[in-house]
């Protein structure tokens, strides 16, 4: 078993006013949520945004398995992205990256 957890997620915005939906801002929003909910000590961990598709607004996060629950809580409780109402929907969470073929790749 891998020490990491891979999370397939997508962002849903209320309006399409946001032009720049880059991965930097997505990661920033997740870090902000983690700091707000779990603070400087509780929310401090390494997580990677492995991939983010701007057109489909879907991405993959890699996080240490011990910290995956906290990250999912932080993702769920995000309600705003750059001033626009938004939600982060988790499609699948798994220990191996190839297992995300079902949800992430569209044929």
């Amino acid at each position: 078993m891998s020490d990491y957890c891979y999370i397939d997620f997508s962002i849903k915005l209320k309006s399409d006013q946001i032009d720049d939906l880059s991965c930097v801002f997505i990661k920033g929003a997740i870090i902000k949520s983690l700091l707000q909910i779990f603070g400087e000590i509780g929310g401090n961990t390494e997580f990677d945004l492995l991939k983010f598709d701007e057109h489909r607004r879907k991405g993959i996060i890699r996080v240490p398995a011990d910290f995956s629950i906290k990250l999912r809580i932080a993702l769920t409780l995000i309600s705003e992205f750059q001033g626009v109402s938004a939600i982060f929907q988790v499609h699948k969470a798994t220990n191996t990256l190839p297992a995300l073929i079902d949800t992430f790749i569209e044929f």
Partner: protein, 140 residues
């Protein structure tokens, strides 16, 4: 029926200035620090934080916290730098399950402090005054 457990943390506050700190200010300082270091989750966990006793003269305080989240409080206390508006450092002396145990510890602790101070005092009159002051402050 499961018993609801608490932990009582005995603190010593050391500050350079002689400005007094109220128990409310102390509780607010602890809540703010918990919010900073453990976020909304930490703050909600220690919602029943209460300063039960505060000996202003000796700068000792007993804080009641729920058993479990008391680790949030005990881990951030060494990081605190202010008491109210004054610069101060905190030291955890004892963590007990009841106030009674904390009070027992205070008596032993004050005895030790007394012995140390006694050795530094020269006259008998000074020693008597010190004993009177200490016994007055321990009466609740």
């Amino acid at each position: 029926m499961v018993r609801f457990k608490n932990r009582y943390v005995l603190l010593e506050i050391k500050s350079i200035s002689k400005a007094t700190v109220s128990s409310k200010e102390l509780a607010d300082t602890l809540r703010k620090a918990t919010k900073k270091y453990y976020g909304d989750y930490g703050l909600a966990s220690v919602s029943n934080l209460n300063v039960k006793l505060f000996y202003d003269k000796h700068k000792l305080a007993i804080i009641r916290v729920t058993h479990g989240p008391h680790k949030f409080i005990t881990s951030i206390i060494p990081l605190l730098k202010t008491a109210g508006k004054e610069l101060a450092t905190y030291r955890i002396l004892y963590i007990g399950a009841t106030i009674r145990q904390c009070k027992k510890f205070i008596i032993n602790h004050q005895n030790d402090v007394l012995r140390k101070v006694f050795s530094q005092l020269s006259t008998e009159n000074e020693r008597k005054n010190l004993i009177e002051d200490l016994t007055k402050s321990l009466e609740i």
